[in-house]
């Protein structure tokens, strides 16, 4: 499913990213190079990713789980990122903070899973989407 918020002219400028939501739905977005996963979630209403500290490495709410194949392609996390990542709930070996992953050509086709680990995901009384 292509997001309606694309704002580039040719496909070659965009990079594809797949999100797996906590409910298990897959959403495919064509993002711009240079956008972080945090940026992408802000411009796409159907991607719910908290970023309480807005990318300043003071929290772990934008925690995502990267597919192993692409995890290897990412640059090593800084000490600051690691410190915050250590606090993330449901931490895995391929976890990263979404605000630190910047989309580039070599990440085309990456899949990230949004963990359901933070405690209160669903509004009480609402339907599961």
């Amino acid at each position: 499913m292509v997001s309606p918020n694309n704002h580039y002219t040719t496909k070659s400028e965009g990079v594809t990213i797949n999100f797996i939501t906590p409910e298990g739905d897959k959403k495919t977005i064509i993002a711009n190079k240079g956008e972080s996963i945090m940026d992408i979630s802000h411009t796409h209403d159907d991607i719910e990713l908290e970023c309480a500290c807005e990318g300043s490495l003071a929290c772990s709410t934008c925690h995502v789980i990267v597919d192993p194949e692409y995890y290897k392609k990412l640059e090593e996390p800084t000490d600051e990122e690691n410190d915050m990542l250590d606090l993330a709930f449901g931490l895995t070996e391929t976890s990263r903070l979404g605000c630190q992953i910047v989309m580039e050509k070599d990440l085309d086709g990456i899949t990230v899973t949004l963990p359901s680990a933070t405690r209160n995901v669903q509004l009480k009384g609402s339907k599961l989407s």
Partner: protein, 311 residues
Amino acid sequence: MYQRLPEWLKTKVPVGANYARIKSDLRGLNLHTVCEEARCPNIGDCWGGGEHKTATATIMLMGNECTRGCRFCSVKTSRTPKPLDSNEPEKVAVAISKWGLDYVVLTSVDRDDIPDGGSEHFAKTIRLLKKKAPHILVECLTGDFRGDLDCVARVANSGLDVYAHNIETVESLTPYVRDHRATFRQSLKVLEHVKKIKPSLITKSSIMLGVGETDQEVMDAMKELRKIEVECVTLGQYMRPTKRHMKVYEYVTPEKFEYWKKVGDDLGFLYTASGPLVRSSYKAGEFFISSVLRKRQQELGVGSGIAEVRE
């Protein structure tokens, strides 16, 4: 499925002369408010003032960048906020004394980047304000200074009247809701220490409801506050400030908030302010002054008439 905001949480858009005046006073002095930075729904009400009440705002000291990233708060986060403005204490004292208030609340961002957490800056602001306008009752809402009780003491000894520090939520949810540097027990220690070193100070705390807590947990939290002799407690509905913040778990009904008010009264708090839109400093002066008056009337055995608050 998106659940609409319940009717009881809808508020009016801030407009009017008072609102504009406060805004221009603040901007002119480069001061910030938690009202704006944290997107308080009551801003129109408080800043608007009205026929029978003076417009008020809760100034947020030490800039508008906080070193922490709590999931419920939209104040900007930065690892390296701008340096403190050494003129801020003076500017705040000037601004507030102009507003003609009887009661004011000051708060601040967390400044874990500063060795004393900004406690001297905070204390100086209170001292200057009290010097310029000794008749104003001052309430301060502080952070936890990372549990450094010397910093807490510095603020507690500065001449303020009410010392507030928020536990924010119940013990079990604290690690999920607040920044990792904050803990439930650390916050209790702050409040306990204030009472210990300055028993005459009124202490106060606040709880957000609707983040997934159980009734028993709320009851326990309120009892913990009573155990350390906290006198005032406020309970309000968590409202998601932006899409980047945690979802609301539940919209607690006004009736349920009434129930918690009764619980607070029964537990022996001097005052319990409880309602969906209640916030730590919302009508703080009115609640405080009226409850102190009520207490005095009881002590004097007076049924009606206003007793003098100021000594």
